[in-house]
C-alpha cells in the first residue's frame, strides 16, 4: 500500500514539477531572459514608452512622434568597442540595403544611448561617423532624463551592467517597432542581411 501511495505521490509531484518547468520556460522554449523577451513580444507586443529624446544635432523629439513608420531600434553607448560596433555596422549596412524605404520614410533606424550622461549630441554624431553614416534614415539619440531612460529599459527589457572596466555589458539585439508604436520582435545583431530580409517582409505587409 505504501508502495502505491509513494508511486502516486511521486507521479503527481513529478507532473507538477514538469508543469512548473514548462510554465517557467514558455513551454521549454526560453531558458534565458534574452530568449524570453523575444518570445514575449512576438505574442504580446509592448507599447513604446513616451520618452523625450535628443538627437545628434541637438534636436528634441518625442519617441511617440515616430509612429506611422517601422522602426529598427538598437541600444548603444558610444565608448563601446564590442557589441555596439556590431550594431553600428549593422545599421550602416541597413542604410545601404534599405535605402529606398529609409528615404521614403517608411522605415527609420534609431540608435538610443543608455549612457546619456556621457553621450551628448557630439559623441552621438561621432559614433555615426565611425560607421560612415549616409545621413539618411539613421537617428542617434539619447533620453533626456533618468525616468525616461528607466522607461526605455523597462519596455525593451534592456540590461546594461558595469563591466568593471568603466564600460557596460548589455544585451544586444535590434528591436522592431511597428507603425502603431509597438515592439513586435527582436532580431539578432551581427547579421544585417537577415535583418534586411525581415524588414522587407514586414514593410511588404
Amino acid at each position: 500500500m505504501r508502495v502505491l501511495r509513494t508511486l502516486l505521490a511521486s507521479l503527481i509531484l513529478a507532473s507538477a514539477g514538469i508543469a512548473v518547468l514548462a510554465f517557467a520556460t514558455d513551454g521549454f522554449r526560453a531558458f534565458t531572459t534574452e530568449t524570453a523577451r523575444r518570445i514575449a513580444v512576438r505574442t504580446h507586443p509592448v507599447a513604446l514608452p513616451d520618452v523625450e529624446l535628443e538627437d545628434s544635432a541637438g534636436r528634441l523629439f518625442a519617441l511617440a512622434s515616430m509612429r506611422g513608420r517601422w522602426l529598427a531600434v538598437d541600444f548603444i553607448y558610444t565608448r563601446c568597442m564590442t557589441y555596439c560596433t556590431i550594431l553600428g555596422g549593422d545599421f550602416a549596412q541597413l542604410q545601404r540595403s534599405m535605402a529606398a524605404p529609409l528615404r521614403q520614410g517608411h522605415l527609420t533606424l534609431l540608435s538610443i544611448s543608455f549612457d546619456p550622461a556621457h553621450d551628448d549630441p557630439a559623441a552621438l554624431a561621432d559614433y555615426q561617423r565611425r560607421f560612415v553614416d549616409h545621413g539618411v534614415g539613421w537617428i542617434a539619440a539619447r533620453p533626456l532624463d533618468a525616468p525616461g531612460l528607466a522607461r526605455l529599459k523597462s519596455a525593451f527589457v534592456l540590461k546594461a551592467i558595469p563591466d568593471g572596466l568603466g564600460g557596460y555589458v548589455h544585451n544586444t539585439a535590434i528591436a522592431l517597432v511597428d507603425p502603431d508604436g509597438r515592439i513586435v520582435d527582436y532580431l539578432d545583431a551581427g547579421d544585417a542581411q537577415a535583418a534586411a530580409r525581415v524588414l522587407r517582409s514586414r514593410l511588404a505587409q
Partner: protein, 196 residues
Amino acid sequence: MMALRDKRLAATVVVWLMLALPPARHALEASMTTQMLLQLPLLALAGAWLARGVPPAWSAAWAAWNRGGVTGLVLASMASMPWMLPRAMDAAVDGWPVELLKFASVPLLIGLPFALTWPRMGFVVRGVFFSETIATCFRLGWLYRVSPERLCSNYLLDDQQRLGNWLLLVGAAIFLLLALKLMAGRFTADGGHDTV
C-alpha cells in the same frame, strides 16, 4: 522537546532573515557564483534545520507516502530544477515576486523535504541522488564554462565561467568523497531506516 524545536525554528528564522536582508541579499546576488553556490544552498540549509522541528505525527503521515524516501527526493529535485534556469536566477534578481518565491520554495520545498527524507533513503536511492547530483554539477559546469554567450543578462561572462569552474570542482569533490567512502567506509545495503 518543545524547547529544542523552538530553538531550531528560531535559528532557521534568523538565518533566513539574515539572507533576506538587503546587505546579504545584494552581496550574494552580485555574482552568479555566490547566488548559486552560497545563497541557494544556505537557503536550503535553513529549510533543512526545520526538519527536526516537525511534529512526529506529521513525520509519520508523510512517511506513509514516502517509501524509501522516493517521494521526498522527487519533490526536492523538482523544486530545485527551476532554480537552475538562468532565466529564473535573473528574474529573482529583477523583481520581488520571483525573489519571494525563491526565498519560500528553496527552504520549504527543497531543504525541508530533503532533510525529512534523507534518513528514509536506502542505499540505492542515495546512490541515484549522488550520481544525479554529480552529473548535474558537471553538466551545468561544462555548459557555463564553454558557452560563448551570457546565459544570465544580469551577470558577466567571466562570472559565468567562474561558476562553471566551481561547479566542476564541486562535482569532482562529491565524487572523490563518495569514492573514498565506498572504498574505506562501512556500508550496509540498507543505509537508511527504510529498505528499498
